[in-house]
Symmetry: C2
Subunit: 329 residues, 2 copies
């Protein structure tokens, strides 16, 4: 930068002004400096700027695993929306480990990013509250969030109730639930299970625990195994509410392997509305969270925090819709 200033015969600050096209810069100055920049191939170094401004223009987006379609599609939406606001996105994967999640909430270094958007998998409210630094933070997802932290989610219980009621209203009576974790259930799964049970109870259908088909991990494969096992045990059902679309896709496969027809014999409803849901055969009915709105609300709140807002945690719900396709029309 000094070289540019020298070549243009002006001060470094003027070069800076030109780069940031500050209002009060004469045309002569602008062209002269630009010429020097071009001639020297000068590229401003963001490190210096960041040190003095204290801002990095970067946000962390953290969750367990980008390769899960819901998260990769979320990453796309958040990245676009963040880009529109002038932020770049740092991707952080926790692999669903406590260690990984702690690292997100209590990084030992400061100044890495301006804020963090984090969807915890297993960390509890208390742990988050205990470990967190006072960097701007917005939580995503279903875990009950600490009072002091902003939080965005959809109403999982109600959505699960809607999905289940939809199956009930299409005449299904023996409705199973597929894909919740078998060992330590995530908050996501619990809330969806609660909604599922509420819908059944409200319809006067007895909840039957043999219809709960837990999966070892969040994956189609494990869900397929779970459904297969249930079928092996002779469990009968005519509808399946799935924890997510991956589980639903696994369920589809397990059913089709047995020659069961979907939705003829069994109606299936998924969750997340991942892109693939439209292209399975049969295509998947699913709960579609409004991820665009999710990203917008989360970034709005995060930017307010970055700007200095220091009030208590705000908790926002975003919309969802039941998208009806072939698997549960």
């Amino acid at each position: 930068m000094e070289d540019v200033a020298k070549l243009a015969g002006v001060s470094m600050k003027s070069v800076s002004n030109v780069i940031h096209n500050y209002t009060h810069v004469s045309v002569g100055m602008r062209t002269r400096v630009q010429q020097a920049i071009d001639e020297l191939g000068y590229r401003p170094n963001v490190l210096g700027r960041r040190l003095v401004t204290g801002r990095t223009g970067m946000l962390t987006l953290a969750f367990s695993d980008v390769s899960l379609p819901y998260f990769s599609e979320l990453a796309r939406v958040v990245s676009s929306e963040a880009g529109r606001r002038g932020y770049r996105l740092l991707l952080e994967q926790t692999d669903g480990t406590l260690e990984g999640e702690r690292a997100v909430v209590s990084s030992s270094e400061s100044g890495l990013v301006d804020g963090v958007i984090f969807q915890p998998s297993i960390m509890s409210t208390i742990e988050i509250a205990q470990h967190r630094q006072d960097d701007p933070l917005v939580l995503l997802g279903e875990g009950a969030a600490p009072l002091s932290v902003d939080h965005v989610m959809i109403d999982n219980t109600r959505a699960a109730e809607d999905a289940t009621s939809h199956l009930i209203s299409s005449g299904r009576r023996r409705i199973g639930f597929v894909g919740q974790e078998d060992i330590k259930q995530s908050a996501t799964s619990s809330q969806r299970l609660i909604g599922y049970q509420q819908a059944l109870e409200r319809a006067g259908i007895r909840v039957d625990s043999s219809l709960l088909m837990a999966s070892h991990a969040i994956s189609s494969q494990d869900a397929a195994v779970a459904v297969s096992r249930a079928l092996d045990r002779g469990v009968k059902f005519d509808g399946l509410v799935c924890r997510d679309d991956l589980a639903a896709i696994g369920a589809l496969r397990a059913l089709q392997e047995r020659g069961l027809s979907v939705p003829g014999d069994v109606a299936v409803i998924g969750w997340d509305n991942i892109a693939m849901a439209a292209c399975t055969y049969p295509s998947l009915s699913t709960v579609a969270p409004d991820t665009k709105q999710l990203a917008v609300v989360a970034l709005d709140m995060l930017e307010e925090r970055i700007a200095g807002y220091a009030g208590l945690g705000r908790h926002r719900l975003v919309d969802y819709a039941l998208v009806l396709r072939e698997s549960a029309p």
Copy 2:
């Protein structure tokens, strides 16, 4: 940091030494400083460090769209491997636009990241060579790469040949190709098409252009439409080589909608071995690039560049395997 130094009664440099646990630090010093750090809740600011070291510890991973399963799974692998080496990953999406790709190759600012891993979609060798700054860069994927830039890929042509030959050897004779772009074909698609044609020719099968089912975009939906249209036109085929697993999944759907059996009537083979490929019904045979190796090789080369290696571009091939599942056993 100054406060910590003052409280511990030592110099700032000693605090720095403790933080980076430099070898020659006495135990007394270490505990005294650590105590001061804990007492003040001090967190070193990376901005200062970066400015003086000139290193950011971050890499950009750039491609068109994280929500495409191949890319999200690649991102996961690269992120893990980069993490192991002490780098964080900045995600950059180009949306497959020239504008977006230019921004990756010729960022107007320096110091943002230590290096870039980039899978171009449409930028040509020449454009890349013209626009690129001299930041460390490794290219991924099939486009012919500029001589001066490092590059990793699998041998697409040969893999496509293998995949096609596999169908031929299982007795298929009318083999289509699904999912290449209909307007401007990417290098990826062209190479795969070439391999497909070579395999046919070598087997003495005439290439029939009515068996080429181009897709509007890289998606299952568009591939399904392409296959449906071909079926509408009365095109007959008993095998499909798909540009990628998304196209294959679309093809599966189109075939199943018509009541065609896979692999009975038509064998289908995909590409990428995305996680979903194991859970479709029937599950997908597919070309599986060794993405782990891809990530390792790319990061090895990038780290060499970061360390100052300035030789000509190196071009490396990584392994792939034909994973045979139900759709083309």
